[in-house]
Structures are given as structure tokens and as C-alpha cells.
């Protein structure tokens, strides 16, 4: 902020005669002057602030039941880290944590490159209309709910009349029930994630590609570079910062393997393979009623997740100048 800004934003009522404020502590006066100018803004912010305090901060306070024994007749009893010991001694918890990390790692390895490739391909398309048509089609799934997407894929992966098995049948491959196949279900998660968001995410890279200086391409052309050489030597280096940013941010979200997705692709047969921390919290908390244990698991994930995302933010900011916020 420049000095000029500060003058403009100084309290308007600040130029009252000095005599009027003589004797009062300086800080209090500044506060009073500030309040007189700024109270309307606080009135306008009040509903939003109230919302954040009640529906975001009250839950943080409520999370103390992770350290309490919930009793039907209040008050609850403070039990310290007891629930965390139970949690860490439970093989199921380590299994869901492992599932979360495995699914996130698979998505990171196989999802992240796809939108980059899509963006590079779209950038090569010359006709404006053709380009718009392709974009309009592949962005759509990003705006569908996971309930809808799961519904679409339960149909498409059906062993009897699903598109995938129909295709495999034409190639002479025996039908497979992907949704109830413990070996396939994690790949179903990865693929549906790609189906849903690879198109839309390519837009982020496309924005970076369009920002590349056209002169670089012209220069490459004069040097006799072909299409692939231009992509390799101009386009890719130009979007490396965006790739790095998205990679780091994704790493920060590693513990979020996407509850909304998993809960709709889960069933009794494959649950053990794709049960993640969030679905575990939901199941033992709201379905079995072990509130304290579930909250402890949720808090463990929240604290670890916060550390990861804050680290990711600062690493990204340091390396690429762009952070999470």
C-alpha cells in the first residue's frame, strides 16, 4: 500500500480540531474515529460473520467431544486422548488411512497428466467452432453431482448391458462386474475422476498456454521448429509454473480422497478397498453412534490435512508465486 492510499483511507472524521481530543488516550481516539467511519461496513458484514462464527467456528468448539466420554445425561466426562489411543490401536483405522493415501496417490499419478495433455491438444485445434464444440462437451461432467455420475457409471459398467462390457464382448473378452470387483473399484474411482474433471481442469492449463508470448512461437517457427518441437520447447516450459502449482496444491489435499465420490461408488463387496477416512467417520459416527471416536478420527485428519495444505500453500507461493488463496 502506498502513502497515497493511506491518506485516502484515513478516517474522514480524523480532522477534528486537536483541542477536542486533547487529554484522551491516543489509541482510544483512533478507535472511536475508526468506528465512526467504519461501522456501516461492520453492519454489512454482520450476517456473513455470524454465519462463519456459528457454522464454522462452533463446530470447532464442538469437536471437543473427541476428548470426552459422551453421556446420555450431561455433562460429558473429559477423558483426554483416550479415543485417540483406541483409534490408533484399531487396524480398521490404519486400513482406511492406507486406502485414502493409495487412492489419492493413484489419482495424482494418473489424473494430473490428463488435463495437461487435453489442454495441449485443444490448443492445436485451429477452427474456433470445432474448438468450442469440443470444450462445451468435455467441460459438462464437472457440473454433475457424484450421485448422477455414479448412476451413469453403474449403467455404463453393468456386466450385462453396459457400454464397456458390450465393447469388451465385441472384442471377445468375458464380461466383468467392475462395480463389485475389488481389484477394479479403485481404478473406477480414478477413471470417473478423469471423466468428470480432466476436461474442466484443462481450462486452467489452457489459460496458462494462452498467456504465453506469441513471439516465442514466431521465433521458434523461424528456427524451423515443427509442431512437437514448439510444444516441447515453448508451450510446456510456459505452463510449468501452473503444473507445479496444481501438483503442490493436490499434494496438500492428499487426505481428501473425495467423500462425495467414494460414498456413491461404495457397496458391501468393495467397501474394504475404498473406505477412506471420511466415509469411516461417517459410518462409525452417524451410523454406529460412536461419536467421540469418529470425531477423533475426523480431527486427526483435519489437523494433518491443515498442516499439509498450509505447507503446500507456502511451498507453492515460494516456488511459483501462486498459492491456495
Amino acid at each position: 500500500m502506498t502513502d497515497h492510499d493511506q491518506t485516502l483511507n484515513a478516517p474522514r472524521i480524523g480532522n477534528v480540531p486537536k483541542s477536542a481530543v486533547r487529554g484522551k488516550p491516543k489509541r482510544a481516539t483512533a478507535f472511536a474515529n475508526g468506528w465512526r467511519r467504519w461501522w456501516p461496513f461492520y453492519v454489512m458484514m454482520a450476517p456473513g460473520l455470524a454465519f462463519f462464527l456459528v457454522l464454522h467456528y462452533l463446530p470447532i468448539w464442538e469437536a471437543r467431544i473427541a476428548f470426552e466420554q459422551v453421556r446420555i445425561v450431561p455433562p460429558n466426562i473429559w477423558v483426554g486422548l483416550k479415543h485417540f489411543y483406541v483409534l490408533f490401536a484399531s487396524p480398521v483405522f490404519w486400513q482406511v488411512l492406507a486406502n485414502t493415501l493409495i487412492i489419492s496417490a493413484m489419482k495424482m499419478a494418473f489424473f494430473l497428466p490428463v488435463p495437461i495433455l487435453v489442454a495441449l491438444l485443444i490448443n492445436e485445434v485451429r477452427g474456433g467452432r470445432l474448438r468450442k464444440f469440443i470444450q462445451s462437451a468435455i467441460y459438462l461432467p464437472h457440473f454433475l453431482s457424484w450421485v448422477v455420475i455414479a448412476g451413469v457409471f453403474i449403467a455404463a459398467l453393468s456386466p450385462t448391458d453396459g457400454a464397456v462390457n458390450n465393447l469388451m464382448g465385441m472384442a471377445g473378452i468375458a464380461p466383468r462386474s467392475f462395480m463389485t470387483d475389488t481389484g477394479a473399484i479403485r481404478w473406477v474411482l480414478v477413471f470417473t475422476e478423469i471423466w468428470r474433471s480432466a476436461g474442466w481442469d484443462s481450462l486452467l492449463y489452457l489459460a496458462a498456454i494462452i498467456a504465453i508470448d506469441q513471439q516465442l512461437y514466431d521465433a521458434a517457427e523461424i528456427d524451423g521448429a515443427n509442431r512437437w518441437q514448439k510444444i516441447w520447447h515453448v508451450t510446456l516450459p510456459g505452463i510449468v509454473p501452473t503444473i507445479a502449482t496444481l501438483f503442490i496444491l493436490n499434494a496438500g489435499m492428499f487426505l481428501n480422497a473425495d467423500l462425495n465420490q467414494v460414498i456413491n461408488f461404495s457397496n458391501d463387496v468393495v467397501r474394504s478397498k475404498i473406505d477412506i477416512v471420511d466415509t469411516y467417520v461417517y459410518r462409525i459416527g452417524l451410523q454406529t453412534g460412536e461419536y467421540s471416536l469418529a470425531t477423533a478420527a475426523g480431527l486427526f485428519k483435519a489437523v494433518l490435512g491443515t498442516m499439509m495444505i498450509v505447507t503446500a500453500h507456502f511451498v507453492s507461493k515460494r516456488l511459483t508465486g501462486k498459492g491456495v488463496w
Partner: protein, 298 residues
């Protein structure tokens, strides 16, 4: 560069690039078109229909008629519209008012408030504490529990703050000199300038609330308040066919029970997408522009 000056090799390359993308388009759209074909076919001819086709067998609106006349579906549509609209309205108003304050550089406590918002993005204590807060406030089983879920979204708030920060100072000062108070400045100067940004935020909220199902599912025991997504989930994901067919129809083999479940499911999935498709042109217009102009993640 005119295409005519391309070498044959370059033309083949280009053809490969375009075909790859068109294949992507097919993979994206075909599963949805197949469901459309199934839902529009004559129900009796649906069994044995391939998952690859996008052409209906015969033509019949029976599935859609049955679904749209079904009380559970009608309730679902009503609930979804109610929740989505009220929530979006509250969200846009709350977000705009709060973003305006937070975008003023001189606001006392601005940094602290900004951090207060950021904390809610990086630290989420989880669904159990949220559930208990709703319980304590007596919101469980009321529309408000779902309406207020992420009513003011911290991400959208940040987007609007960034937008308001760009409004030229001169405009604001001119109206202040004319004697306008901060409320008038907001109403007569800021809001009209922010129309495109507000439209974008409104669309964000509409899509978000229309697609929300998880919190509705855990907060609402009362099935008559379920939004369409939860009805769809019960029917298609949980495979509870009575959700749509109904116990009387199932016992007497009447009404929806006579229609192939596959057709009903296809119709139900598509019904839930219709509003998204209706505003999709607007989404393309505003989201694409918003994302292209620098906002990293939406």
C-alpha cells in the same frame, strides 16, 4: 497459417489430434446419450438394449410421464428448487456484503477477519461436530440445516473480494463527495459494477446447492424434505426400487412397477441433470471467462 501450405505429414498429425479430441467427446457424452435413449424407448423393448446405442428403440414418453407424476419425484423437485433458490439468494447477498467490507483496505481488523475466513478453508473439524451444532440449534430435519450448509462459501467470498478490490477508487470517492453513505455507495455504485462477478458467483452457488446431497442425507431424516439428489441416490445407488415404484405398485404390479427398472433409473438420472443443462450455456459463458482471467480454482 493457411492449411493449404501444410505438408501431408502435418495434415495427418492434425487429423490425429482432432480425432483424439473427438474420441474424448464421445467418451464424455455417449454414456449420457445412452441413458437418454433408454429413457425415451418403449419400456417393453428396453431389456437387452445395448449400452453402446444412442438411438431409442421406438419412442415413448411413458418413463418421463410416470416419473414426473410420481409424488416422491415431485416432492424432490420442489425441495431441490426451494433449497437451491433460498440458499443461493442468502449466499449471494451475504457474500457480497461481506466481501465489500473485506475489500476495503482501511477497514480496522481486516487482516484478522480475512484469517478468520481462511481458517475455515484449511481446517474442517469434520461432519460429526457440524452435525451436533445443527442438532443443538434445532435445525435437524428442517430445510434450514441444508439451506445454511456453506451458505457463504469462503472461496467465492475470496473471489468477490478480489473483484471489489479492483473497483477504481475515484468512482467511490465521487459518490462519497455527493454525500452518499456507505450503504448507498454499495447499492448504487458497487453492485451495478459487480454484475458480471455476481452472476458468476450466483451460478457457482446454484450448481453447488443443486448438486449437494451428502449433508441433506445426514441432516434430513424426514423423506418428504429430501432434495432430488437424495431421492436419486436412494433409488439408483442404494438400489431401493420401492423409492420410486412404491410398495402398492410393487405388490399389485401396477403403475411404475410395470416399467423396466433400467428405464426408470435412466430417466431419474437425466431428470436430475436437466436444470444443469438448462443453465449450461450461462455456465460456459461466465465460468470459462472467470477461470481464464486468473482465478486458479473454482
Amino acid at each position: 497459417m493457411a492449411l493449404s501450405r501444410k505438408t501431408p505429414l502435418e495434415r495427418i498429425e492434425y487429423a490425429i489430434i482432432v480425432s483424439t479430441l473427438l474420441l474424448l467427446v464421445v467418451v464424455t457424452v455417449q454414456p449420457i446419450l445412452n441413458l437418454l435413449a433408454v429413457s425415451l424407448s418403449e419400456p417393453g423393448r428396453v431389456p437387452g438394449m445395448s449400452g453402446l446405442t444412442i438411438l431409442p428403440r421406438g419412442f415413448s414418453l411413458e418413463v418421463w410421464t410416470v416419473l414426473l407424476q410420481h409424488p416422491n419425484v415431485q416432492r424432490g423437485i420442489f425441495n431441490s428448487i426451494l433449497i437451491t433458490f433460498v440458499s443461493t439468494l442468502i449466499g449471494v447477498i451475504g457474500t457480497a456484503l461481506m466481501a465489500w467490507g473485506l475489500s476495503r483496505p482501511g477497514l480496522p481488523g481486516r487482516k484478522a477477519l480475512f484469517i478468520l475466513v481462511l481458517v475455515t478453508i484449511v481446517f474442517e473439524p469434520g461432519i460429526i461436530p457440524e452435525y451436533f451444532v445443527n442438532k443443538r440449534l434445532g435445525l435437524l430435519d428442517s430445510y434450514w440445516s441444508v439451506i445454511l450448509y456453506k451458505a457463504v462459501n469462503a472461496w467465492y467470498l475470496i473471489i468477490l473480494i478480489r473483484f471489489f478490490e479492483e473497483i477504481p477508487k475515484e468512482l467511490l470517492e465521487a459518490s462519497e463527495l455527493d454525500g452518499a453513505n456507505p450503504f448507498q455507495v454499495f447499492w448504487y455504485v458497487v453492485l451495478p459494477l459487480a454484475k458480471p462477478a455476481l452472476a458468476t458467483i450466483s451460478l457457482f452457488y446454484l450448481v453447488f446447492h443443486w448438486n449437494e446431497f451428502f449433508h441433506a442425507m445426514i441432516y434430513l431424516n424426514d423423506q418428504s424434505k429430501w432434495p432430488l439428489q437424495v431421492v436419486l441416490r436412494q433409488f439408483v445407488i442404494d438400489g431401493d426400487k420401492l423409492a420410486i415404484v412404491g410398495i402398492d405398485n410393487a405388490n399389485n404390479n401396477t403403475g411404475a412397477s410395470q416399467i423396466d427398472l433400467r428405464s426408470l433409473k435412466a430417466g431419474m438420472i437425466l431428470l436430475t441433470i436437466v436444470p444443469i443443462l438448462a443453465i449450461y450455456p450461462l455456465i460456459l459463458k461466465f465460468f470459462t471467462k472467470g477461470t481464464m482471467s486468473g482465478a486458479l480454482k473454482g
